[in-house]
Symmetry: C2
Subunit: 170 residues, 2 copies
DNA sequence: TAAATATGTCAACATGACTGACGTAAAATC
DNA sequence: GATTTTACGTCAGTCATGTTGACATATTTA
């Protein structure tokens, strides 16, 4: 019991940002930021009878034309049964289309129809608008930090794949 | 078709970080970071037969002893029926306890039992550990940016309440 | 006393995840 | 060429978590 009054938990002041309280705040910011960020697109989706699961599939297919089902499964980390239902809906509404792979004809390569692209673009614009405002208010350095921390939150064994797909550094 | 090769979408290079592509990357980082951040605690929870919904309630009650149900509802933004089921489970397992409010006896103030505190602490430590690693690798400036951007993603009308609860600036 | 508030509860339903089992076509391997 | 593996689909059942709508009860406020 040396330091009588030390509000700092770990050790030096250079590590203030690693105090328990700061970590808890980070956790909670992530919760609330994520919650509200998604709520907007959710509204649009609900209006046309789709859910988040459809949105996620639509997004990654849109971003990655001719994506095999297996890769989409790896990105979303859900079971094929869960994805199956979602894809069935999207195919029935002609938002997504399939074609067999050229090299491997067992594969069903997924891509968006023009209507799918339109919806994808609409949702992406919504989300980009919100993200753009947050980025603008926070500034370029903050944006870098935002990505750095989130990148660190990704599982070690997933990070290479994810970074390769997302593109760019950090 | 003037600028033949302009990789920049909006206008100046000072706004590079607001290009569509950078915004998309931010969106995707948020998706993957959130996905993997939660997966760890999910495992612990599944092992004892609880889910994310229980975790969220446990967390905010733990952080905010004597929390009225109405406030928990406002934090989680779910219906009282959904919360009711979760609280019923937590009460049955004696992880949470209720007591009537002193000033307003209609209220049921929620707090954690010792067992609830133990579980809360265990889960929080798990999450803090992961967050701490990401923070440490990213550095203090990045942490600030992380919080700034997430704060900007929170709905305008929610931000004051949330910031008041989370504490600290930005 | 009447109205509003805080909370709980019953019932029905939707979404999106899961497990487990089985089927088929194409590719890869022995 | 026969066998095994792979990519994908599908049927069936279950679970967790959200929803709406209606109604009940106790307590506070007007």
């Amino acid at each position: 019991m040396t330091d009588v009054k030390s509000p700092v938990s770990p050790q030096a002041s250079s590590l203030l940002y690693l105090r328990e309280d700061e970590l808890r705040r980070g956790i909670e910011f992530l919760f609330f930021g994520y919650r509200d960020f998604l709520s907007e697109a959710d509204g649009e989706l609900a209006a046309i009878g789709l859910g988040r699961a459809h949105h996620r599939a639509l997004h990654f297919v849109g971003r990655n034309p001719d994506l095999p089902v297996s890769e989409l499964l790896a990105i979303l980390k859900i079971t094929k049964q869960s994805l199956g239902r979602v894809l069935k809906d999207l195919l029935a509404r002609r938002l997504i289309e399939q074609k067999p792979g050229r090299r491997d004809r067992r594969q069903r390569l997924l891509s968006l129809t023009p209507e799918g692209q339109a919806l994808h673009a609409r949702l992406l614009t919504l989300q980009r608008t919100r993200m753009a405002r947050a980025f603008r208010e926070a500034g370029p350095d903050a944006v870098l930090g935002f990505r750095k921390v989130l990148s660190g939150l990704i599982s070690d064994d997933e990070r290479p794949k994810v970074l390769a797909m997302i593109g760019g550094g950090a």
